[in-house]
């Protein structure tokens, strides 16, 4: 037990170091090369040169990438725990797409603006999509197998994006905004929009952490978890609420970003074991690192343009998804 605890501490502190390194890279590297002196000026708020101004923009952007990445990583870990499905991910299960649909409809039809309203819409959309996909995926024998859940999620995503296009296309006034947001970007981040999200993110984090023990029990199967004296239904609801709030927040802030929630928990399990009390915080750190690095990569590969972070995570995450499919001998496969 002592060994487990010390190695968990080691993993977590390693994660913190990696997050700090990511933050550093994200501030220093960009589509434009900026000398060190100007970077320092930009960080101190002395915006005298173009370089310093560019760096000043990188600050909220970095904060957003780290925050959203952490939210998605935790959300993925919790979803994989609840569904006992190695392919669970807010993007693959269509939860992000549901959040996106709600936000877009809010913008287009109800003229909604304001960061807090976006957050409520995102969370509501994520919740509806999660319930819908899980309901469809668990019809019939064998419950929610990876194949059924993935298919239901894919179909829901496609349906949601078709509706989003149908809503957005005729509205030239909002089309540009929505499209940039929909690909999944952290480029336009501002502190005014990030701040209202913090309480939501905190609630999601606490719910997720609170459900760690029940997720550990659930890993042994539903019957056994009930036999161990856990209230399985309640635990699932708490855990799901945490995951939904987190990915709703992330989606409302930067649009649907796929695969972070898939990749990170698997990598964390390889290094930090399978105890959810360790896995969940690790997944948060890992998600922050992954999304931060993906954002940095997106600024480099397409210079002078910037590649949206959602495209980068899909390109990196999809092969990982395939690898996971190949590696696991899953139920229903």
């Amino acid at each position: 037990m002592t060994f487990g605890r010390s190695s968990a501490l080691f993993g977590l502190s390693g994660g913190v170091v990696l997050v700090l390194a990511t933050v550093f890279l994200s501030l220093v590297i960009g589509a434009r090369s900026v000398p060190w002196a100007e970077i320092w000026q930009g960080l101190n708020g002395q915006i005298d040169s173009i370089g310093a101004a560019a760096v000043a923009v990188r600050v909220p952007r970095t904060v957003l990438a780290v925050l959203a990445g952490a939210a998605l990583g935790i959300s993925g870990a919790v979803m994989q725990g609840i569904t006992r499905n190695p392919l669970a991910d807010p993007g693959i299960l269509g939860v992000n797409a549901g959040a996106a649909l709600f936000v877009v409809v809010g913008i287009a039809w109800f003229n909604i603006s304001g960061a807090a309203t976006f957050l409520w819409l995102g969370i509501a959309g994520a919740g509806c999509a999660a319930v819908f996909v899980y309901a469809i995926g668990s019809v019939g024998q064998g419950g929610a197998t990876p194949l059924k859940l993935t298919l239901a999620g894919t179909a829901t995503s496609i349906a949601a994006s078709a509706f989003i296009i149908a809503v957005v296309l005729p509205r030239n006034d909002i089309a540009g905004n929505v499209q940039a947001w929909q690909v999944g970007g952290v480029g336009g981040a501002r502190f005014q929009t990030i701040l209202p999200a913090l309480p939501f993110a905190l609630v999601g984090l606490l719910l997720s952490l609170a459900s760690a023990r029940i997720l550990n029990a659930l890993a042994l199967g539903e019957e056994l978890a009930a036999g161990l004296g856990q209230n399985v239904a309640l635990g699932r609801i708490v855990a799901a609420a945490g995951a939904i709030v987190l990915c709703g927040v992330a989606t409302a802030l930067c649009g649907p970003i796929g695969f972070v929630g898939l990749v990170v928990p698997h990598l964390c399990r390889l290094t930090g074991g399978i105890d959810h009390r360790v896995l969940i915080p690790m997944a948060g750190l890992g998600g922050a690192v992954l999304l931060g690095l993906a954002d940095v990569a997106g600024r480099i590969v397409a210079r002078p343009n910037e590649l949206d972070v959602g495209i980068v995570t899909a390109f990196v995450g999809a092969p990982f998804f395939i690898w996971t499919v190949r590696r696991h001998r899953m139920r229903g496969l």
Binding site: L87, I92, I136, G137, V139, G140, Q141, G142, P146, L147, K148, T150, L151, A152, T154, A155, T156, I158, A159, S161, A162, F163, I165, A166, L169, P170, A175, Q179, V183, G258, F259, A302, N305, L307, D308, G310, I311, V312, A314, F315, G317, A318, P319, F321, I322, V325, R326, G332, L333
Partner: protein, 344 residues
């Protein structure tokens, strides 16, 4: 039943079935014809049949530009791409014994689209070359998906999941390439992401028509063996059908059809996926599934385009309309399959 009665019953059934096939296919052809006629004659306003004929025949005082340069290429492109998607889709579905294994779900449309965009934007190719690049990349992706999902045991589910992953990856490639395009307008992006026949020209139609003749012919030649393959590899081989050879030919034909259609009109969402299951419901277990699926593909594209253009408060590309119809159908199929508890 006596032997004579059985004989009569079987012969009678075959006759009825033959009639049914002819009737159903004839009905579909008539429907396609009606939709083509509708596309040609009715836009914002409707032309009288006489005016339409006059325009098609090139009379001076007829509205020749609208009919011959705008509507005719659009109708023709919808027709040929619909046929291609329908045929290619059902071929995959039958071969892999799974309606979910259609080219637009397992990543073949996505790869053809990504390759076409890459060839156009980065390599500045056009015409036949783009289609050829799309075909080659479609084949490469098929081989890749197969290699990745081949392992002894139930490969079907794994193949579909891996296809979904490949699709996601290739769509991100498409998005990246579009970002690099110098004149990146949303209409063009929409064509490559969901499919559209906006601004169709006859020059786009000919390669697809050629593909339809060549690959459709190849598919027709193997259609009987394909039908036997539905009994499983071992049974098919026992009946003298070489499973691998048949699969190879079907794959080449289906990828050719889908890739040519995609490089002309983009991966029109879900047409390849929808046509087969609808055709199976129209035709029942009788033969004629392949041509029926092709015709239904044409119906879907023609009708979807017409609805998207004129029947909604604003104009939408055909891929958005078929996507909005197809996604709920996919959900329905998943629910139905799950409830039956069998293979899809």
């Amino acid at each position: 039943m006596s032997a004579a009665e059985v004989h009569m019953a079987l012969a009678g059934r075959r006759q009825r079935e033959g009639r049914r096939v002819v009737l159903a296919l004839g009905g579909l052809v008539a429907l396609v014809f009606c939709l083509v006629f509708l596309t040609l004659s009715c836009g914002r306003g409707c032309l009288a049949p006489a005016d339409l004929m006059a325009a098609l025949l090139g009379h001076e005082d007829a509205p020749g530009f609208i009919v011959n340069d705008l509507r005719l290429p659009r109708a023709a492109l919808s027709l040929v791409t619909g046929l291609c998607f329908g045929l290619g889709g059902v071929a995959f579905q039958v071969m892999l014994r799974n309606p979910l294994a259609s080219p637009d779900i397992i990543g073949i449309s996505a790869s053809a689209g990504a390759a076409a965009v890459f060839a156009i934007v980065i390599l500045s190719f056009d015409g036949w070359v783009v289609s050829a690049v799309a075909v080659v990349s479609g084949l490469v992706v098929v081989v890749m998906i197969w290699a990745l999902s081949s392992r002894r045991g139930a490969a079907g589910a794994r193949l579909i999941l891996i296809g979904i992953g490949v699709s996601a990856m290739l769509d991100s490639v498409t998005a990246y390439v579009l970002l690099e395009a110098p004149a990146w307008d949303r209409a063009e992006a929409m064509r490559w992401l969901t499919g559209s026949v906006n601004g169709a020209q006859m020059g786009q139609v000919w390669p697809v028509l050629g593909a339809l003749v060549v690959f459709g012919g190849l598919l027709a030649a193997v259609s009987r063996d394909l039908d036997i393959l539905r009994l499983g590899d071992d049974a098919a081989q026992a009946l003298g059908v070489r499973a691998d050879g048949t699969r190879l030919r079907v794959t080449v034909a289906a990828v050719g059809l889908v890739a040519f259609a995609t490089s002309a009109a983009g991966p029109i969402s879900f047409v390849a996926f929808l046509s087969g299951p609808i055709a199976a419901r129209v035709m029942g277990p009788s033969r004629g599934l392949l041509p029926a699926a092709g015709l239904i593909g044409a119906v879907l594209v023609l009708a979807g385009d017409y609805v998207g253009q004129f029947m909604l408060p604003y104009r939408l590309p055909v891929g958005v309309v078929t996507g909005a119809v197809g996604a709920p159908f996919l959900l329905y199929l998943i629910v139905r399959t799950n409830r039956n508890g069998g293979t899809i």
